[in-house]
Symmetry: C2
Subunit: 463 residues, 2 copies
């Protein structure tokens, strides 16, 4: 009758195979609308299977509406089912981009995961899994796990000199989601978004994708020039006042005050991204600008640098006026974070293992920073000037009179160095061509020393 | 001099307290611009603290730009710092909505978490924590943990008769995020979004929030009426073909084929939300509509019902044409899911503990369904007609000639019953007033039996 091949050693049951073959025949038009199917007895005999098998396959076809049954008559193919055949799933695809062999990766924003206290963290996960109750594994809403918000309030006080109430803290999937949600809820029709120049390309792309006109604040060694915002109609301004990304400046108090006054006068919000200032190596800790105004500033923090990126936990401290809209948007975006990591992090903070971990990492990163600065000095002498090295996991390195472009970065990649000029982070292609960014937190001392030597050769080659 | 009160038994260091008091004085204008600060020696003596303490506080003020230092002259308050004082953090807030005492909660979409195999799941978490390497705790991109995608492809074949390739599977934070991202990437200017009526209010709100014109497909006991989409300009159509939410119909093959032909002719995508069809109690399993077209259908699945909501893992099977845009959008939304749960779920699927769990839960939910149907029959007789009960964790219950409105739901809540009429899920307020939705998966047998009795009294009261 029809060419039906059943695979008796396959994983799929015979009845499912038969159902699938008949269904494909109907969809492809091989079995036309109105065509009668053989009786179950007949087909069973022909295929050498039990009649039950054929009955089950017909039953599946009938349930899904592929065939019509009438008492005393053969089953017939239903009307209006013919489709083009589905595409072959194994058409070849474009090959993935070839991965370069990078020996010295000066990319920024990468913590040293080899020094992470995995044993302690796993202990936290175990504690969390054992202490959470069933209702906590159901939906618990967009704000975040309450004990984590409490623990975070204490942590912000200890680590960042910041007094905030747990009720104003909202947990997010990293700072990326925090910024994404803020671009949604802070939108005021036609008004722009203030950004530092240079700044993180991801943040810029996200804000541009949302359709905001961008208003630039040129950054110098003291951070963003707030005066550039005068007269602009703004929805929000994004700043990194504790450690300007990527140049590393600390926004001085007068610019902070000017920014807050402007936000109040012109009715916009300030997003403070405090992405890595836990690691400060010299002098006293820098207060977040959030300490100066609770009503105009959204403080954004993340554990991607202090713990690890795949944890996906960040948070915002929100002015009360934004909280309702935030909850609505988060609810419709992805509801909430998974509960387990939140509970583990709460434990890690409550037991002050976090404090110990940060002290340990600060020592380690401090040693790496020292190694980097010494290597740079002994290799480049006065040719290169390190900037923004007082905190964080990267530095900016200025080579007066040099020009580093796309070609330089590509040439470096060929010799095993991943490094970017600041111009890649700048809006105007003509600016910051003399400065390179060096992430060092994730590198070994040896990689830092060798990487600086390799960089010397690469820089010498373009002179 | 100034009224400075230091708390010697507080958690904050004396130097930080002093810094904070001086900073607040400057921001509030109590210390005016240009005003000279006392020498460190003088202030230390007055406060009875060490000179180092005062030096440290002054240093913090200087680092943040609150004061200016000149050699041989007293430190002075910088210009332009006066701000209104930050709001008191302890202003009273609106009290939270009062929580009703609900004894019989017929809300839909809630799995029975008391029957979840927590011990096995925790074993999976342990396995995952031990087997993941450091690089897997860094950013690993928006697609999802590769072994989970592989395990999911196998699971879809076993559980849903669906042949898909792991490369087309993308992990999400639940189906909510999947839908949210799809509303972003499927947008075609001015074109609408097709939705079933009635449908999930959350889905409707999300799509409406995104600014899409909505095009309605009235649903009957066979699911959505596809013909209602004829002539509409559409970006996408959202359907629940295996178990129409909330009425429970199975979309017949001819409507499926018509929908796919329409999508091809009019250039739109079909979103298939397969939210709970793992639990099918009668007859043969229903194939996803995805099996009929790989190029036009986005298949959305979730583990919120089969495992637990706070896991936050769902997935999409994406046509190749959408994958690039998806990766871009996910990258800027929240980058990726946490890795730990993904690895635990991969283990749970690979070891087929998932298969065993689903079989166990299907038995349990089947017993609850039986109890519910028997209770309804013995309590309401022929007054109430159960619908859409062949799969899932809820049924629709039709009372011909009855009218259930907002007042009925409120009255029920007062007597301890949470229940909603389907009209709450419908676009037109006049429809589906005779039908109630009963979620039962999370209830005990006793709650089901007592809840049905309580419901009888509530229904009798409105006759």
């Amino acid at each position: 009758m029809w060419d039906i091949q059943l695979n008796r050693s396959g994983e799929a049951s015979l009845q499912y195979q038969l159902f699938r073959i008949l269904k494909d025949g109907i969809l492809s038009g091989k079995l036309a609308a109105g065509e009668a199917l053989p009786s179950t007895r007949e087909l069973a005999k022909e295929l050498g299977v039990s009649r039950n098998t054929v009955c089950a396959a017909y039953d599946m076809l009938w349930t899904e509406g592929y065939i019509l049954n009438r008492p005393g008559a053969p089953s017939r193919v239903a009307e209006g089912l013919s489709l083009r055949l589905p595409e072959k799933p194994d058409t070849p695809r474009k090959a993935d981009k070839q991965v370069m062999n990078i020996r010295w990766d000066f990319a920024t924003g990468k913590p040293d995961l080899t020094a992470f206290p995995w044993k302690q963290w796993n202990e936290g996960l175990k504690q969390a899994a054992e202490s959470l109750t069933e209702t906590q594994f159901a939906y618990t809403g967009p704000k975040g796990y309450a004990p984590l918000c409490e623990a975070l309030a204490g942590w912000l006080k200890r680590a960042r000199n910041l007094d905030v109430h747990a009720r104003d803290i909202f947990i997010t999937s990293g700072s990326t989601q925090a910024l994404y949600l803020l671009t949604e809820i802070l939108h005021q029709n036609g008004r722009g978004f203030g950004l530092e120049n240079p700044s993180h390309p991801g943040v810029r792309t996200m804000i541009r994708d949302k359709g905001y006109p961008l208003c630039w604040m040129p950054a110098d060694e003291h951070g963003a020039d707030i005066a550039a915002l005068q007269g602009q109609a703004l929805s929000a301004v994004y700043v990194t006042p504790s450690h300007q990304y990527p140049l590393g400046g600390i926004l001085p108090a007068d610019r902070r005050a000017a920014l807050i006054r402007l936000a109040e006068d012109r009715d916009f919000y300030i997003i403070e991204d405090d992405y890595d200032s836990e690691f400060r190596y010299t002098g006293t800790p820098i207060s977040p600008i959030r300490a100066m105004s609770a009503s105009r500033i959204v403080y954004v923090g993340t554990f991607s640098k202090t713990l690890f990126p795949a944890l996906r936990i960040g948070f915002v401290v929100l002015p009360e006026a934004l909280q309702q809209q935030w909850k609505h948007s988060r609810n419709y975006m992805d509801v909430q974070n998974p509960v387990l990591e939140q509970a583990a992090l709460a434990w890690f903070l409550q037991t002050r293992r976090m404090d110990k971990h940060i002290r340990r990492m600060k020592r380690l990163y401090g040693q790496k920073r020292q190694t980097l600065l010494l290597s740079l000095h002994s290799t480049f002498g006065d040719t290169a000037i390190p900037q923004g090295d007082a905190s964080g996991l990267h530095i900016a390195l200025r080579f007066p009179d040099y020009m580093f472009g796309e070609a330089f970065a590509k040439q470096c990649e060929k010799t095993g160095i991943r490094i970017l000029p600041v111009s890649k982070y700048a809006e105007s292609a003509s600016a910051y061509h003399d400065t390179l960014l060096l992430g060092y937190g994730h590198l070994t001392m040896e990689q830092i020393e060798q990487g600086v030597k390799a960089l010397f050769d690469a820089v010498a080659a373009i002179k």
